[in-house]
């Protein structure tokens, strides 16, 4: 006698218990410390903060530990936590021109005021596995300190181009309320501010591939890395009671300004165009990819024909969020047997109808009559 399977609750509890065991692994091995994750896996922390849309290194480290190193899962944890946080206002826009720069490079000029500062980067390493890291040894010797500090006067390369009028101006209307993607849903066609917010929290892999596609000819826009800078900026907030801004935090950001294909019209002589990328921490690859895709999505506004996926707003922006993508792809694991049953009924009926008409020796080329 068939008995319907029950016990979903118990099964779930056991699954969660198994998961906790897997997460901990061999208990003879030291448990991961959040501080270790923060310090020694900082780029993972940076990515989780960027795509999780929340700047908190401790929470990001916790999310990574809880997610067993699955970054997309960690991003989801952080986003879900963010939902519960009260919003007490918006900060002043951060001023990346006022950054305590730790890395600053430009590919458009050999040298620029303030200099080319390499900072900590994988760029100049040889990708050879370093087996000395396998055995935890002495901490690395401290880097020698320079004779003079980094030049405070570090104008943006785009501003230098601006002096000659060579590059388009970016300006924001300070009086207008800023669209907030975390509070309202996206509408198409979307404004640049909504697009940039979407890209900032979008999946790095997706944007990397799309950015790459533009370089290979799918919507080429001749990018140059005008400037990439990484360092600390102050976050300022103006409480109503005070009426003036106070610094409430210092965060690390990476900013990429791409200088792109010049454009002119009958009214305006040719100028370079721009793409912009910004991330929390040191997510440089993401900042660059974001800038490439930002510029591609400006195709319509710049009078370019839309031919490539990276230029297609709805395609890019609807699929950039890995929390949404992961949820929906994985939802296929949920039971779908009721709908499948519906399909079974249909397919069986169609096959039966075909058998029936074949048996009656009707012309099999004619579609069977409706039921």
């Amino acid at each position: 006698m068939y008995v319907a399977v029950k016990g979903g609750d118990a099964a779930i509890e056991n699954s969660q218990s198994l998961l906790a065991e897997e997460r901990r692994g061999d208990t003879a091995v030291d448990e991961l410390d959040l501080e270790q994750i923060k310090q020694q896996l900082s780029l993972a922390v940076d990515r989780v903060m960027t795509e999780g849309s929340l700047y908190d290194e401790d929470l990001a480290a916790l999310a990574i530990k809880q997610a067993r190193g699955d970054i997309v899962e960690a991003i989801f944890l952080l986003r879900a936590y963010r939902t519960t946080l009260p919003r007490f206002g918006a900060s002043e826009p951060i001023d990346t021109g006022d950054m305590a720069v730790r890395r600053r490079i430009s590919a458009t000029f050999k040298d620029v005021p303030g200099g080319q500062i390499l900072g900590p980067s994988f760029d100049y390493t040889h990708r050879l596995l370093d087996f000395t890291l396998a055995a935890n040894g002495e901490p690395p010797a401290p880097t020698p300190v320079a004779e003079a500090p980094v030049d405070q006067d570090m104008p943006r390369v785009t501003e230098l181009l601006n002096q000659e009028g060579l590059i388009e101006q970016e300006s924001a209307d300070d009086d207008q309320e800023v669209f907030d993607l975390t509070r309202e849903s996206m509408k198409f066609p979307a404004d640049r501010e909504a697009r940039l917010q979407n890209l900032a929290r979008g999946d790095e892999g997706f944007l990397l591939a799309l950015g790459y596609s533009t370089q290979r000819g799918w919507g080429r826009n001749h990018p140059f890395a005008g400037e990439i800078r990484m360092g600390e900026v102050a976050v300022e907030f103006t409480p109503e009671e005070l009426g003036f801004p106070i610094e409430i935090a210092e965060i690390t950001v990476t900013e990429c300004q791409m200088v792109n294909q010049f454009k002119g019209s009958s009214e305006v002589p040719p100028q370079f165009t721009r793409g912009y990328g910004l991330t929390f921490g040191h997510c440089e690859r993401k900042a660059m990819s974001m800038a490439l895709v930002d510029r591609a999505l400006r195709a319509e506004e710049l009078g370019e024909s839309i031919e490539a996926p990276a230029q297609d707003q709805e395609f890019v922006l609807a699929h950039a969020c890995n929390v949404e993508a992961s949820g929906f792809v994985q939802h296929l694991k949920l039971p779908h047997y009721v709908d499948f049953q519906s399909e079974l009924v249909t397919v069986r009926a169609l096959r039966k109808a075909i058998r029936g008409s074949a048996a009656n020796q009707e012309d099999p080329g004619v579609a069977p009559a409706a039921e």
Partner: protein, 312 residues
């Protein structure tokens, strides 16, 4: 809607508000829901939040339920018609943890029913609300991928293309083959996706006394069918809408009126058919109804190996 939260209710999960969402968010969702009720079948955009369950797993339904549920409500959660499928269990646990409300498996005792892919067999009453989990709120999406264009089509009632889809199915297969998420027209105006319920359940939506709310979290839309509203499944005059039927009846309770699940019982393909709605089935059995309990052997496939019925 009786969903006023009780400020005296104890916080059930340390540090979280009643039913997880903060009051501002609930207010925002209720405003969107009221607008949806005022425009039957129209998709209202809302600022969907990330929830502790993934997008695609019912976050829209959860947010709607969280915004209307109160301490006095009794919640039933089903998936595929059953209370104890893992997703239903998970969501019920979520509300038990974050709202501490009473839960039930009996349709008749629930004030709010959150469902994935089925409408209960037991007719719903005016004092109940059913909340559907919706993966894709836009019925036109698979014909027209662009949101900017589908918005226009709804605004201008440009729905010819929906019937083109049905025409194609008849031209190809001799009948309309869409079996679930079968498009409907609400109040003679908006075309709506009823969520992936089997078309078997569509007639239940027409003039239902209960309020029907639809939440799509990932796509960020809420829509609604107010009580006693016309809901008509699309069809042609000469190819009218029909629902599924089975030769068998429920092996457990004997019902030949309900939607049946197929359960494979051995490796030769023998099958049992049982009610998808577990509460309905149990209620019938408790009242003394019985099914045969016997599996049905697999049907031999005598269809020609070449599909003979292709008309193209």
């Amino acid at each position: 809607m009786d969903g006023i939260t009780n400020p005296e209710a104890p916080e059930t999960l340390a540090g979280y508000n009643f039913a997880y969402l903060d009051e501002q968010t609930k207010r925002m969702i209720r405003r969107a829901t009221l607008k949806a009720v005022a425009i039957p079948g129209y998709q209202v955009p809302f600022g969907s939040r990330e929830m502790p369950l993934p997008y695609g797993w019912g976050t829209g339904g959860i947010q709607v339920t969280a915004s209307i549920i109160g301490v006095e409500d009794t919640l039933k959660v089903i998936d595929q018609g059953a209370d104890d499928t893992t997703n239903a269990v998970n969501i019920r646990r979520f509300f038990a943890k974050t709202a501490g409300v009473a839960t039930t498996e009996k349709t008749a005792e629930a004030s709010i029913i959150q469902t994935r892919h089925r409408i209960p067999e037991e007719p719903l009453r005016a004092d109940q609300i059913i909340v559907y989990q919706v993966p894709q709120p836009e019925p036109l999406r698979f014909i027209e991928p662009r949101e900017a264009e589908t918005r226009k089509m709804h605004a201008l009632s440009e729905y010819g293309i929906m019937h083109v889809g049905l025409y194609e199915e008849i031209a190809h297969f001799g009948r309309i083959t869409q079996g679930y998420n079968y498009p409907v027209q609400v109040d003679d105006r908006y075309i709506m996706a009823p969520s992936p319920i089997p078309k078997f359940d569509n007639p239940k939506m027409d003039h239902m006394p209960a309020l029907q709310l639809f939440g799509a979290g990932r796509e960020k839309r809420i829509y609604a069918v107010p009580p006693h509203t016309k809901v008509k499944s699309l069809d042609f005059e000469d190819h009218p809408f029909t629902i599924e039927s089975w030769e068998q009846s429920c092996a457990l309770c004997g019902s030949s009126e309900s939607y049946l699940d197929e359960v494979i019982t051995d490796d030769r393909g023998s099958r049992l058919f049982v009610c998808s709605d577990s509460d309905y089935c149990r209620t019938r059995r408790d009242a003394g109804h019985e099914g045969s309990g016997l599996p049905v052997p697999a049907e031999p496939d005598t269809t020609a190996s070449e599909p003979a019925g292709e008309s193209s």
